[in-house]
Symmetry: C2
Subunit: 146 residues, 2 copies
DNA sequence: GTCAATGCAAATCGTTTGCATGAAC
DNA sequence: GTTCATGCAAACGATTTGCATTGAC
C-alpha cells in the first residue's frame, strides 16, 4: 500500500515537469480519492470536498478539470458505468477488475491470477504487446436479487 | 447463428403477449442491431436508421424508448464501454471480447472458455447473477510494433 | 508580470418527459 | 373507438466551455 504523501509528491513532480502550476484544488481532489473507500463520481468528489473542506470554495468545473488532469497523468483511473456515469479511483490501489451491480451500482473488486495469465496468452497468440486491460462483470448483486 | 427473422418473430410474440402494439419502429431498431457489426450507441442506431431508412422519419426519443424496451424484454443487451456511454448489441450475436491496438485502433475479437468459466465462478463466489460482461485488452498489435 | 488555473455562469451533450397526434388493434 | 406508441419540443442532469479574475511562479 502506497502512502498518500508519496502520491502527492508524485503529483508535485509531474506538475513541475510539465511546467504547470501546483494548486491546492488538484491536491484536494487527489487526496479525496486516495482516502475514498470505493469509486466516486465527479459529483461525489465535489460533495465530499464541500463537506470535508467547506472553506475551500471549490467549483464543480474545477473538480471535473482536476479529475481529467489526474487521469491523464495516470494518478487515477476512471471506469464507465452506464447509469451513474464515470467513476474514479486512485491508482494507489493494486490492480483489480470489477463486478458491477446494474441495479444499485455497487462495485465489488476482484483479482484472478488465472484470468490474468490467460489474457497474456491470448495477447501473445495474437502477437499483441499488452499495455493494460479492463474487465467488468455486470449483474445483479445479492441484495438486489429480490 | 440465429436468423434475423426468428428474432423479429420473437419480438412479435413478446409484444402480443404483453398486449402491446407492434410497431415498425421497434422492428427497425432491433433489425439495425441484429445486422450491426459492433456495439452501437443510441445515437449511432438513430443515425444508421436515418441513413438506411431515410423515409422512416423516426425520432431519437423513439429510438431510446425502443432500446429500453428491447433491453427489458431481453432481445438486446447494453454495456458501458469506455467513455461514450451505453452501447447496445443484439443478443443473437455470439459472445466475444476484444483486443484493441492503442496505436492503430485495430480490434481483434476473441473468446476464451476458461476465462468465461472463471468469471462465472467469481460471480458465484460474490453472489452476483451475471447478465453480461465486457473485457478489453489494450496493447500494440504486431504491425505497429516497429 | 506572466501565464496557468480557478470560479462562475452559460452552453452543450446525451437522455428523458409531457403532450397532442397518429397508428395498431 | 380505445389505448399504446410516436414525433416533436421542452426539460433535464451531467459535463464542458468562455471569460474575467486570481494565484503560482
Amino acid at each position: 500500500m502506497i502512502k498518500s504523501e508519496e502520491v502527492i509528491e508524485e503529483l508535485r513532480k509531474i506538475v513541475k515537469k510539465k511546467g504547470l502550476k501546483y494548486t491546492e484544488q488538484r491536491e484536494i481532489v487527489l487526496n479525496i480519492l486516495i482516502h475514498a473507500e470505493g469509486h466516486l463520481t465527479a459529483e461525489e468528489v465535489y460533495n465530499l470536498i464541500k463537506t470535508k473542506k467547506p472553506e475551500s470554495n471549490i467549483g464543480i468545473a474545477t473538480v471535473y478539470r482536476a479529475l481529467g488532469f489526474l487521469e491523464e497523468v495516470n494518478l487515477i483511473t476512471s471506469i464507465a458505468f452506464g447509469a451513474d456515469g464515470k467513476k474514479y479511483e486512485s491508482n494507489t490501489k493494486e490492480h483489480h477488475d470489477h463486478l458491477i451491480c446494474i441495479n444499485c451500482g455497487r462495485i465489488v473488486e476482484f483479482m484472478d491470477d488465472e484470468i490474468e495469465k490467460r489474457q497474456d496468452r491470448i495477447a501473445k497468440k495474437n502477437k499483441f504487446k499488452i499495455t493494460s486491460h479492463s474487465m467488468q462483470l455486470y449483474g445483479i448483486c445479492e441484495a438486489c436479487q429480490n
